[in-house]
Subunit: 308 residues, 2 copies
Amino acid sequence: MDSNSVSPMPELAPIAEFDKSPPSPPNEEVPMDDLPPPPATITQSEGKKLKVQRSRSYDSEEHERGACEWCEYALVITLACILLIGVSALTIFWIFFYREGYAWADEIPEKQFNLHPTLMVAGFITFSGFSVLLYRICRCFRRIYVKLLHAIFHALAFPCIVIGFLAVLDFHNKTGIKNFYSLHSWIGLVAMGLFGIQYAVGFFSFLLLLICNKGTAGFRASLVPVHAAFGILTFVLGVAACLTGLTEKAIFTLGAERYSGLPDEGVIINAIGVASIAILAVIMYIVSRDKFRVASSREDHIRVSVDL
Amino acid sequence: MDSNSVSPMPELAPIAEFDKSPPSPPNEEVPMDDLPPPPATITQSEGKKLKVQRSRSYDSEEHERGACEWCEYALVITLACILLIGVSALTIFWIFFYREGYAWADEIPEKQFNLHPTLMVAGFITFSGFSVLLYRICRCFRRIYVKLLHAIFHALAFPCIVIGFLAVLDFHNKTGIKNFYSLHSWIGLVAMGLFGIQYAVGFFSFLLLLICNKGTAGFRASLVPVHAAFGILTFVLGVAACLTGLTEKAIFTLGAERYSGLPDEGVIINAIGVASIAILAVIMYIVSRDKFRVASSREDHIRVSVDL
């Protein structure tokens, strides 16, 4: 059972929660709020009276809001999944339809380069995106299984990123192009470094240290927000590298003249970039939304008051 | 007085809060946490005893943690300010030192183009960044003054973005370059559209609707998270447009051959991009950190218990 599902809230809490609930749910993040001060706290006797009078309408309102939240949750998660699969599918389509597919041979280094965008998009966006999303999709799983799935998806991203990096490094060396001069390469290098550090630290701290569960709980708990923050940063850097890389590729391959005519290939390249940004926006929204993480604490309070 | 500073928390709450406090502060966001379930709740008599015994060490611990938090707050805000001013200063330096400064004349359209990166960085990053930061810097101000400052900083960003856009549009028309074909232009267009909508909606809802403060409180409260989320999205799009624009400019102006030799100008262009990403990371960190927003609710609980 989730540790949040039983709240050590004293008897008055559900009423206080009820007082605060309109206009915004208590658990919802309301940054930069400018609400007028809440009404004076209701005394215990008044509160009990109010509770008896309004319990039915409160329940139905709650039910309706819960249904809305589930609808929003399902829509946003579905959108994220479609975009995450779509961006990789679009990249593969682009390469097969316009760039003659893949290879790893000295004679056709261009086909070897094609592995770079495909594998980087798969590693930094699709697999990493699903790895983050798992914490919202698998809400009924035991925490350890979600963590293992998180590690497995990142383990799938790892070879993609390594091979994608080696493909472009080898392509540059074969064709005499210098390495690590562009903004794209700088961003990509930092993203790869962060990905490696995050994987090592995450694997060691959140899986290996479970051998001594209680003794390391404090350390692991303090590491969770750091790991999450740097994880989001790595994802942002991955998307930034994707955008700058696509811009470079469009200009180098199509040429400024052809690109400015916006041929079909240019539209496809731009669409991959737009999809990457849409993914970043949706994932940041999902991650920042507390309601998508665990059942709202207000529901717990209601359950407690009903049980009483 | 802030609406959060008086908590309707019953007598047991500070102790319950204390029980939960190690290893992580109660108000801190701990996403994806994997803590073991909290220890069984202490009964009221045990709790009171504990409170008496540990009140001093708790106070000093609290004080120390508060000092650490203030130190972190001051450091991060200072870093954000330096980066926000630095990125515009670096862009102006780049234009004056390597691109011969500014002008708006038919004979020298390149100097007219130079207004585009400078004004867009100033509008989308420096002024918009400070406008967001104000909600963390001016924590002691009355909310209405912070909102006015937020509107003023965005009002400064507005002409920068409009003139920056007109500068590049006119430059393209003068030199026969097509418009709106690149990924950079697509991202920039969406960012400008969102900026305009956000400004109009924000001005109308959070300033004009204050005429009827109580009647519109519910509407405004429900709009706050939407406005904040789209505000962050606009900022992310601004940074993405900056990165793709810098990549385009480096390749078009320096040429692939010269850029790959990483001349001083290439380093400066890359540095502007890196600074933009650093700003995005720092601002996202500051915005996501609850502690930077208002005084931690735990401090309020302590104040309540001391007052009692």
